[in-house]
């Protein structure tokens, strides 16, 4: 007998939904027949506001586009401006930027591990990982003055040099995080419960992954080796040794494995950066920020963030304000068209599980 279809509105107020968005589900029994994403609850009109602000005033805006991981946004805008203007960035600044980006990646993965396990009812994990993430936020606070939003990476370099003894403290934190990994493994990754829940759920087929515009860990979880850090190296990623982990399962489990391995890779990248970091300038001074005109031009720059590829399309018409800054976040595709596809056939209980594995983040869908 065919079961009667019912409509369920999951969100915007729902503890399992990652952020303020809504998924309208048509279900037959417990199985989802049709899913429709509704977004727009967080629309702040950033792209319009940036047209009203000067170039430097845009930096505090872009970092608010992605709340868990603001640094790739700043780095992207800075690099786009540098590309249009042809501004050189000192070598030391590039290394510092990579360090900040990778620390942000570690912090995001900490948050992700908490969210992923929290969405299946394993509440010990968030207590650990979000607590550990705070040590990285402490480092950020010392370096930039802000826990969550940093406004640290600017056009021409970074805002200020590393404080004295900062790298030692970074290394100490890395040691701590690395020692915590076996604990995480025992609780989450070797947990039979998690494996049973995650395997075979939320499948992105390998042959469809590129066509559907999947990026980041979900793409690598479908067995395609693509990483902006390798394919189009920015900053100093071409001088560093790291591998891009992939996994062939195409499901939530393989995405988790990819992220788990990337966690180790990030730790190793930061160690290399600290080892190789040259001395010297950290900032190529921009002219008076209130009258700073960027020459006409356009640039499209990409960054590999923890959740996937960030793309910034920046246009300047030669005035003191940006003509257009258009942001393409990884969740833009993951959270709308992809989610609608892969939710079909899943259970209601798996919705927040799958959303977490895709790294859906509504603020970057609507901005």
């Amino acid at each position: 007998m065919r079961e009667k279809e019912t409509t369920i509105y999951l969100g915007p107020q729902h503890p399992g939904i990652t952020g303020n968005m809504m998924v309208k589900l048509k279900v037959a029994g417990d199985t989802i027949v049709k899913a429709e994403t509704h977004v727009g609850y967080l629309h702040r009109a950033f792209e319009k506001l940036m047209e009203q602000r000067t170039w430097t005033q845009s930096f505090p805006i872009v970092c608010r586009i992605c709340v868990p991981e603001p640094d790739p946004n700043e780095e992207n805008l800075a690099r786009a401006i540098e590309e249009i203007e042809g501004r050189e960035v000192p070598e030391r600044a590039k290394y510092i930027r990579v360090m900040v980006l990778e620390l942000a990646r570690l912090a995001t993965y900490g948050l992700w591990m908490g969210g992923q396990s929290g969405s299946m009812g394993l509440y010990t994990m968030p207590q650990w990982t979000i607590g550990d993430r705070d040590y990285i936020l402490d480092l950020f606070e010392e370096l930039t003055g802000g826990r969550v939003y940093h406004m640290y990476i600017w056009a021409g370099g970074v805002r200020r040099d590393l404080p004295e003894g900062f790298t030692d403290r970074v290394l100490k934190t890395l040691d701590y995080l690395e020692n915590r990994l076996p604990d995480y493994d025992n609780l989450l990754f070797n947990n039979a419960l998690f494996q049973k829940r995650a395997q075979g759920v939320g499948i992105i087929p390998k042959d469809k992954a590129i066509e559907w515009g999947v990026v980041g860990p979900p793409l690598r979880g479908s067995g395609i080796k693509h990483d902006v850090r390798i394919d189009e190296p920015y900053e100093v990623y071409d001088k560093l040794n790291f591998i891009v982990p992939t996994s062939d399962g195409c499901d939530v489990w393989s995405r988790a494995l990819v992220r788990r391995q990337e966690y180790e890779q990030s730790i190793s990248i930061i160690r290399q950066v600290i080892e190789k970091m040259p001395k010297g300038d950290y900032y190529n001074k921009i002219p008076n920020p209130l009258t700073w005109q960027v020459p006409p031009g356009e640039a499209y720059v990409k960054t590999e963030s923890a959740r996937g590829e960030f793309g910034y399309y920046v246009v300047s018409d030669g005035s003191i304000k940006p003509r257009r800054v258009h942001v393409r976040g990884p969740a833009y595709v993951h959270g709308v068209s992809l989610l609608e596809k892969i939710l079909v056939g899943a259970n209601i209980a798996d919705v927040s599980f799958i959303m977490n594995s895709l790294g859906t983040c509504p603020p970057e869908i609507e901005r």
Partner: protein, 196 residues
């Protein structure tokens, strides 16, 4: 053309061989810029996808060039094999902006089109999900158009809490309260702002 040999230069040659009217240039390493007539764009995109192997649609963007009475549509395609990005640019008339949907080529194009439709009012023929996407009950000019004044709108529609006026330029306030002198470059700016 063999996919592995696709570099910036061969890509440019290949495109120019087939699309004579296209203005092709290498913007920088890994970026090829193609300017095309509007009606050729769908043809070009499916050609790039199927023959040049640019399988990944990275971005669709729109810029309002109100001075020229045109919208510019920008499509970014990425090739995983060649690690190369094509930027396809075209202009749409601002009076009656219309284009056709690309959702049959890339399913995620639908989302971009819905956003551009809502923010700029460009009609993508064939896209069935155009309509309310991000905004709710929006009336009037699509908000991302240059002629929409967001400051005026927010002043008219929202209650603004008083007390922000003197905090517009923190430097002025500080100098007023503590007698500290405003630096020269800031003086220049505040004069200009008042004139605006």
């Amino acid at each position: 053309m063999h996919i592995q040999d696709c570099t910036e230069n061969t890509c440019v040659d290949q495109i120019q061989k087939i699309f004579h009217t296209a203005e092709v240039e290498i913007q920088r390493k890994k970026r090829v810029k193609v300017k095309l007539r509007l009606d050729l764009v769908p043809l070009f995109l499916s050609y790039a996808r199927d023959y040049l192997n640019f399988k990944h649609l990275a971005h669709i963007s729109c810029v309002d060039w109100i001075e020229e009475n045109e919208f510019e549509l920008i499509f970014m395609l990425w090739s995983y094999e060649a690690s190369l990005m094509i930027m396809v640019k075209t202009r749409v008339n601002r009076e009656k902006p219309e284009f056709i949907t690309l959702s049959h080529l890339w399913p995620q194009a639908e989302t971009y089109e819905r956003e551009i439709h809502e923010m700029y009012g460009i009609n993508f023929k064939g896209n069935e999900r155009l309509g309310e996407f991000i905004l709710e009950d929006w009336e009037g000019v699509p908000p991302m158009r240059r002629d929409f004044d967001t400051i005026k709108y927010s002043k008219e529609n929202f209650y603004q809490r008083p007390g922000r006026e003197d905090a517009q330029d923190v430097r002025e306030t500080i100098s007023k309260h503590s007698g500290e002198e405003v630096p020269d470059f800031a003086k220049e700016f505040s004069i200009r702002r008042i004139e605006e």
